[in-house]
């Protein structure tokens, strides 16, 4: 698969291509800093450069590459490689975006500076934080960064995903794979269940005496009827889901003995995929934009923090429910936040709108299901639009699942191209 080489900033931002540029935008020389070059931050930086050509747009990220979590579960079933998931997030300097390859440590809201790991200060008039998630390493007894080298989380795509794939490949036929799913909210609500499907597919086709057991801290989950329908049909002997109501919540892990403990049981594992509970990335807490939940409350129209002025938060770190923590949401929030910031710095009030989320999940290679959400943000609060949205039909021929898998591929190409192209 090839992706377009970097083109003009206009290209790929179809939504903004017909947006008129009032003089107040064109002449504005605000300093806008974006922290995090993922689906939200990269999209916001490019959109802002298009909307405010004379503004100073600075994008800060510690890496020069981004490894996409969407589609990374296909690495586990052997359909994709980590190279297929890796995209350049450097080289936008020629497009007029200042790029700083460094970790942003914290923000000083009083002086309006982002402080980098080396102590350097980057001043801003408006700041967008799109930092993603951190793991709650204090949230599950025994699960430490060291433990994750034996019991991978694979919830940030990259070496952890490769490690989990290698463990699955090296496991004997007959071994038992476990997955521990945390309480919500976490990045990508249906992600664990797509992963369960694809691991079960791998076991069914390559290790037929093996089985996957999913221990869940929840009693319901995204696209639940569709996943359970697919599991009953495709993986009756290779996948078992245990609800929190049936002692599914893991309360302690021991990476030395490779065991997972629930309230009443101890499970010996051959491979253990432990997805930890999550919160907004550390910089959010340090900057005073995260609340006691660990996530960042925002005004739903402008995405501005309700705790710190002039800091906008988009993507997984933000509290945007019922919008999910998905790549589609982050990418869309990047575009909309850019438009609202352009309005604000030009002296205009931000405007409410309607937002979507679309998400495809694989139930097997070449078979996918989907969910659609639609939202208003009037009054600064996200609300689902009654009568819109929903999930794929439950009882559908495999041709429909195949058609949705083709759509998933086109979706991935489109969002990657718009975000990183």
């Amino acid at each position: 698969m090839t992706y377009p080489t970097r083109r003009s900033l206009l290209a790929g931002l179809g939504a903004l291509a017909a947006m008129p540029l009032p003089k107040a935008f064109a002449q504005n020389d605000a300093r806008i800093v974006i922290v995090g070059a993922g689906f939200g931050g990269s999209t916001a930086a490019k959109a802002l450069k298009r909307l405010l050509p004379n503004a100073s747009i600075t994008l800060i990220d510690p890496s020069e590459q981004y490894v996409s979590c969407p589609f990374s579960n296909l690495i586990l079933s052997g359909e994709r490689t980590v190279a297929d998931q890796t995209f350049s997030i450097s080289g936008w300097g020629s497009e007029g975006i200042n790029q700083i390859t460094a970790r942003a440590d914290t923000v000083d809201p009083a002086s309006r500076n982002v402080i980098l790991e080396d102590g350097a200060a980057v001043p801003y008039d408006k700041l967008i934080l799109a930092p993603g998630v951190s793991f709650r390493w204090d949230g599950l007894e025994g699960y430490t960064p060291e433990a994750s080298e034996r019991m991978p989380h694979a919830w940030k795509a990259g070496p952890q995903t490769v490690l989990l794939r290698r463990q699955l490949e090296e496991m004997e036929n007959g071994g038992v794979v476990y997955m521990s799913v945390p309480a919500a909210p976490y990045r990508c609500p249906p992600g664990p269940y797509e992963r369960a499907s694809l691991i079960a597919h791998y076991l069914k086709t390559r290790k037929p005496r093996s089985k996957l057991i999913v221990l869940d801290s929840k009693t319901t989950f995204s696209k639940m009827p569709l996943f359970q329908y697919a599991w009953a049909e495709l993986y009756p002997d290779h996948l078992e889901w245990i609800s929190a109501a049936d002692d599914g919540r893991v309360s302690r892990v021991d990476s030395r003995t490779m065991t997972l403990e629930t309230d009443f049981d101890t499970h010996a594992t051959s491979v253990a995929n432990v997805i930890p509970a999550q919160k907004a990335a550390t910089i959010a807490e340090r900057s005073g934009v995260a609340d006691q939940t660990g996530w960042c409350p925002i005004d739903a129209v402008s995405f501005e923090s309700t705790l710190q002025p002039d800091i906008h938060v988009i993507g997984d770190a933000a509290i945007a429910a019922p919008m999910p923590k998905s790549a589609f949401s982050a990418n869309l929030q990047g575009k909309i936040c850019a438009i609202q910031i352009a309005r604000i710095v030009a002296g205009l009030a931000p405007q409410p709108t309607r937002l979507l989320n679309t998400c495809y999940s694989y139930t097997a290679p070449g078979q996918a299901i989907s969910i659609v959400g639609a939202y208003t943000n009037d009054g600064g609060i996200f609300q689902s639009i009654e009568g819109a949205g929903g999930i794929s039909p439950l009882d559908a021929p495999s041709s429909l699942r195949a058609a949705e898998a083709n759509q998933a591929t086109d979706w991935f190409d489109a969002i990657i191209s718009e975000t990183f192209g």
Partner: protein, 109 residues
């Protein structure tokens, strides 16, 4: 460009599309921007899935406002269960008309 006949409900969006095509901004640019911002932010969802290279998710490039509006209204009022049926129900007929006019004016990438 030659302006097409525009339905009354499209007026404000239509004016802004003209502005986007290089015409002088009117004194009412900020007033017009209200509606354009709404449509631009609604349209921001489309490019999250639709790219020029798409096949299973078709490209929106080069389609007329009339074609886009007809398709969207069919999704909006049809009883199907595709992603497009489920999402089209989020919008009013007026929003669909303005959105279609807006997308039809987007320059090819």
């Amino acid at each position: 460009m030659t302006p097409r006949p525009v339905k009354p409900l499209l007026t404000s969006a239509g004016l802004l599309v003209l502005a986007a095509c290089g015409q002088e901004q009117s004194e009412n640019a900020n007033t017009n921007l209200v509606s354009t911002t709404e449509i631009a932010t609604i349209a921001a969802s489309c490019s999250g899935c639709h790219a020029p290279s798409g096949t299973a998710i078709p490209s929106l490039s080069g389609r007329s406002a009339e074609e886009l509006e007809t398709l969207m209204l069919d999704y909006r009022h049809g009883d199907g269960t595709t992603v497009m049926h489920l999402l089209a129900r989020a919008y009013s007929d007026d929003q669909i008309a303005s959105l279609s006019a807006y997308l039809a004016e987007a320059p090819a990438p």
